[in-house]
Symmetry: C2
């Protein structure tokens, strides 16, 4: 079985990184619970929204992301049974490419370079399962689309859902 796994907000906690940077730079105490159902830039005052969008163009943003809990252990098990690919829509951010490669080397060394994809559109991927946090990627996928819960997608009801890597293990292991 070929399984594609998104990076940001599926194995790498980009959403929390946005919150942390904003809280530090604007002296706020926003918690992730306040963000459910919204993109983070929509949580902050209009005058600050562009600064959120610019986070992903900063050097080091993707290098410093923390792991989503359980992603390492479950992906390592999945990799023993299935053909697991990391598929990240990273091409929008050229400075992220090397950082994402290095981050995978650090945390997911068991997924070799042959099984890593940095792309844009994901509808050209051919496989059995896509685990992603965005409807625009899950919608056109031919196989089984699993929405991984992220603060911004909690109100979406159109896909099979996984709330955690424990859920993924229950479904696919």
């Amino acid at each position: 079985m070929i399984i594609f796994v998104d990076m940001d907000e599926v194995i790498a906690d980009a959403y929390q990184a946005h919150i942390d940077i904003y809280n530090q730079e604007f002296n706020t105490q926003i918690t992730v619970e306040e963000c459910y159902g919204k993109e983070f830039w929509l949580v902050v005052p209009a005058a600050h929204q562009q600064s959120i969008k610019d986070h992903t163009r900063r050097d080091g943003f993707f290098q410093d992301l923390k792991l989503i809990e359980g992603s390492q252990q479950v992906l390592e098990e999945l990799s023993k049974k299935h053909e697991v690919y990391i598929a990240s829509a990273a091409m929008e951010f050229p400075q992220s490419l090397r950082e994402k490669s290095d981050w995978l080397d650090e945390f997911f060394p068991f997924i070799p370079w042959q099984n890593r994809i940095l792309c844009g559109n994901k509808h050209v991927l051919k496989g059995d399962v896509l685990i992603d946090n965005r409807s625009k990627n899950l919608e056109p996928f031919d196989g089984r689309s699993i929405m991984f819960t992220s603060p911004h997608n909690t109100n979406v009801n159109t896909f099979e859902r996984a709330n955690s890597w424990k859920d993924i293990a229950d479904k696919l292991l």
Copy 2:
């Protein structure tokens, strides 16, 4: 129609770059005609072969590649009629990722980030045409596989072949 186009030796002249670097550093005058049917590292003495293989790990190697003749013009026309994707097996060389993105910005700005793929294995790509110079990529592709002629593949007879971007235009425009 979805068309995937490889980078090295299809739109970017990596083979000639290997020859040029070697000729300069070892004071030789090897021409591309002497290389037909062989990987370039097999053309040089055994003691020099590792140095050839290391070219692709050098900073700037991919940034400095020259264009394959006709690739810009034909791809620009193809992009108006078809969904054209660049698909390069670049993940083996982390330092190449940014260089390849920048190179595409410079020479193929009409192919947006959404249509760029840096990957490993290509058998997970779903589309209609793959233009590539390597059997290992063309073999498992589901659609129409077109081998783009490169010095190393001149003896391969198992695929539909394009010797130039003029050939591609005749076939697909």
